[in-house]
Symmetry: C2
Subunit: 133 residues, 2 copies
Amino acid sequence: MQRYFTITQLTQEFDITTRTLRFYEAQGLVSPTRRGRQRLYTHGDRTRIKLILRGKRLGFSLNDIREIIEMYASDPGETGQLRLLLDRISARREELLEKQRDIELTLLELDEVESGARTRISELEAGLSREKV
Amino acid sequence: MQRYFTITQLTQEFDITTRTLRFYEAQGLVSPTRRGRQRLYTHGDRTRIKLILRGKRLGFSLNDIREIIEMYASDPGETGQLRLLLDRISARREELLEKQRDIELTLLELDEVESGARTRISELEAGLSREKV
DNA sequence: CAACATATTGACTTTAACGTAAAAAGCCTG
DNA sequence: CAGGCTTTTTACGTTAAAGTCAATATGTTG
């Protein structure tokens, strides 16, 4: 297993541009180490990038994503901070559950549209295309 | 049940601004009728708005949403068009299923962070706060 | 080492999705 | 019907998330 990934390896793997990865770095979402000026991404960096892209697919902004990632990485020493973390977690969980419900609804609607379309196709194929079946 | 909704009623119900609704109209996503210059939204319009907002929560762009809504409303007369519709439906379904998986993963990660946090809280409350438990 | 590709940096541009502000129109209400 | 409110229209501004382009720098290969 290789120790480091280059920027182009990652752009190819995730189908994003170098500009995107540098932008994420400027936003403090990843911090690849350097060999000279060149960026070297560790497996940890790669995992972070996966998290970012997953967040994007779910419609989270980069700021949201930053907060989520920081939750993962945070290591609060006192109870108050830990309780605050628990609150944030449950807020995020609520959001995700709402998205799940939204998806369920949309899938159901797609099912309806699909079965409607299938019905009409079979009508047409049965030669019943003389209006008003 | 009322026949029409005013723009402000809908902005209040959905917690969006009039600017947003007019913007959606300019994008061809809703087409309220008019009484003079005033916009009157039907129940159908209201449903569309719900669809739009649901799409947004799932991270779809307004263009995506337009296409999805057009799928719902489309009434293609010939088999070729219907098959194309079926393709679009299954593509959208794939996207949604991917989002579902993304959500599952994220929920699992949140569970882990949460249980870690709970563990540390109980350690702290047990008075074991003298480093290295 | 010259040539050529690859990487970095910085500046400017673009696109989506609204926000904000100003002016005019419409419509109650005393 | 004057004053005040909401609504509409028009136009310009803003923000997030990159895209594009040009100038260097670095690396590598014959």
